[in-house]
Symmetry: C2
């Protein structure tokens, strides 16, 4: 049996028990179709199948490639592209091959693109405060009519409170969610349809307005979401090997995982029991020993030893799960220290499946 | 003929004329083996073959996978893994199959790994000031002897002045390079061998101590290196589509390229004629109109129009080339506005070639 520490490095390792606990906790709070898991966070159909095992059969995605891959994996019962596209041709092909495909629209141009591309169903994407996609709430009704006039089935509305989901102050998060969702409810009244799709890992429980939550990060988690009071724990780390130790007195060490192994937009990865100084393309320079001000519990059940040696393995938790997964081509699945499976990160990139 | 604006988005586009001009400028300054192009910057054997066309036949790399891929592409005449590894088995296989493979070592452990893995040649990696790999200069001679005792051919030394190469103050860069290289020269006197390998794009001309320069970024460039007084220009950009425009009055627009299309460790990409506000996984939120304080010339021959519309294409220049390339599976090569070739980014990841 391959052990974690036998893996080549850098490698991305998923703790199966923690993953299952996260999936179970979410499925209890948001069973079945009340959760629409977002595959952009993991880009992995094998992991999506674990979400199916926990009762979810509807999914959302951020790219056409993700939709194609989910359909090809037999997970096309109800796929939502929660994003705008100007060329929906590839989505139309997926729908024609038997998957149910819905796409977000927020303008006349994206409505026309959906109709022209052969997609049959849409949600009106409503801006609820995040400066990103979505029409003004008062425009939603008009766009819904426009979509119906173009021959599209309008299933309802979506509106992502992404400016709110990461707020560590629970009361502020709840209040921000309420303000956002009141906009979505107003838009929904004008648009009609069964679906109010919204939310994320940070608002999975307090968003009581949406009837489906688009959460993705909860499955694997990252250090950014770990600062919130959520029942989900980090379930993955990047394994690295100590390849060098500084000349005597300098005190730092070097591991073989860097900027191409971690999404860096939320900052450096966390090294339990150590301190990351900086990352280079294929290296992390770090110190052994916990910083005095670091009183946070270790996010994984592992901690750097006091005197690491060349050849030792270290385990680092990424700050942002989504862009980290996008760098890796596989997830190694661990049961304790045993590697029990290997899952391709098969939804990466943007080009059609070969 | 496919035009740039016909491509799916996001896509990574290389301007062939600019790339060729960068390659030619470097080959004139550093002909043949006086440059050892670093493939970590582009991870693309097709681009490496353009470097061969400009007279370079020796290459360096940061990962075992890059070495394997270069050898498989017939570019294995003289490959240096400018990095430490504790398991050199895969390198030994590449060498056994006929490529010349040299690996950096900076400790007894990495020397033993090289010998055990079947690699025949090494460079002693010397710390010249960057807090990363490399032995203390005064240890280099001892490690050289140790490597020879282990049956390895010691070709010389390497030492990367990575803490210096990005300094925009040319005088400070030259002085920092001198201080670093004097350490390397001392180490070389103790180690022997023909090779003094060092440098990068920022010190390609002022590093007169090294007899081969490990530059990679010069081929495609990025906005970080663009702040230096170098004769190389940005030769690539990420193409994106405007998928949404903010509700009236808000003023921002949204493109379909984000955290999974750009290495973010050096900050947001540059949008000529516009201002990037922030990136999300698959989105960039931006303003049209140049910032008043932005007097820099556009790094590419393109600028955002004053009133972008949904469906328009935008061109963004990444802040850091290396981790950006690692997100993409192909480079589209443009001659003016025509797409003339498509190059796989075939050196990505860490796992063996299928």
């Amino acid at each position: 049996m391959t052990k974690i520490d036998d893996l080549p490095t850098p490698s991305l390792v998923v703790d199966a028990a923690r993953l299952e606990a996260n999936l179970a906790a979410m499925a209890e709070a948001r069973p079945g179709a009340s959760l629409r898991p977002h595959v952009k966070a993991h880009k992995c159909t094998a992991l999506a199948k674990r979400q199916v095992a926990h009762g979810h059969r509807t999914f959302c995605a951020a790219t056409i490639r993700e939709i194609e891959g989910m359909a090809a994996a037999g997970l096309g019962e109800d796929l939502l592209l929660a994003n705008e596209v100007l060329d929906a041709t590839r989505l139309g092909v997926v729908a024609e091959q038997g998957a149910r495909v819905t796409v977000a629209v927020d303008s006349e141009e994206t409505i026309e693109a959906a109709a022209r591309g052969g997609v049959q169903e849409v949600l009106i994407d409503v801006n609820v405060g995040l400066p990103r996609c979505g029409c003004a709430p008062e425009e939603a009704g008009r766009l819904g009519e426009r979509a119906r006039a173009a021959g599209l089935e309008v299933r309802g509305v979506m509106g992502y409170e992404g400016h709110v989901v990461g707020n560590a102050d629970r009361a502020a998060r709840e209040e921000g969610c309420r303000v956002s969702m009141e906009k979505l409810v107003v838009a929904h009244a004008d648009v009609g349809g069964d679906v109010l799709s919204a939310g994320g890992t940070g608002t999975y429980d307090c968003n009581t307005w949406a009837n489906e939550i688009q959460a993705g990060s909860y499955a694997l988690m990252d250090t950014a979401y770990a600062t919130l009071d959520l029942p989900f724990r980090q379930a993955f780390f990047v394994l690295s090997t100590v390849v060098s130790i500084a000349p005597a007195g300098a005190g730092y060490l070097i591991g073989d995982a860097g900027l191409k192994a971690f999404g860096m937009d939320h900052g450096n990865p966390h090294l339990p029991g150590g301190r990351v100084l900086f990352c280079s393309d294929e290296h992390v320079t770090f110190l052994a020993g916990r910083a005095e001000e670091d009183t946070a519990p270790s996010p994984i059940e592992w901690e750097l030893g006091v005197s690491p040696k060349i050849g030792d393995r270290i385990r680092m938790v990424p700050a942002h799960v989504d862009p980290t997964l996008a760098y890796h081509d596989r997830l190694y699945v661990a049961d304790g220290e045993d590697i029990v499976d290997e899952w391709p990160v098969d939804l990466r990139g943007w080009t059609p499946i070969d």
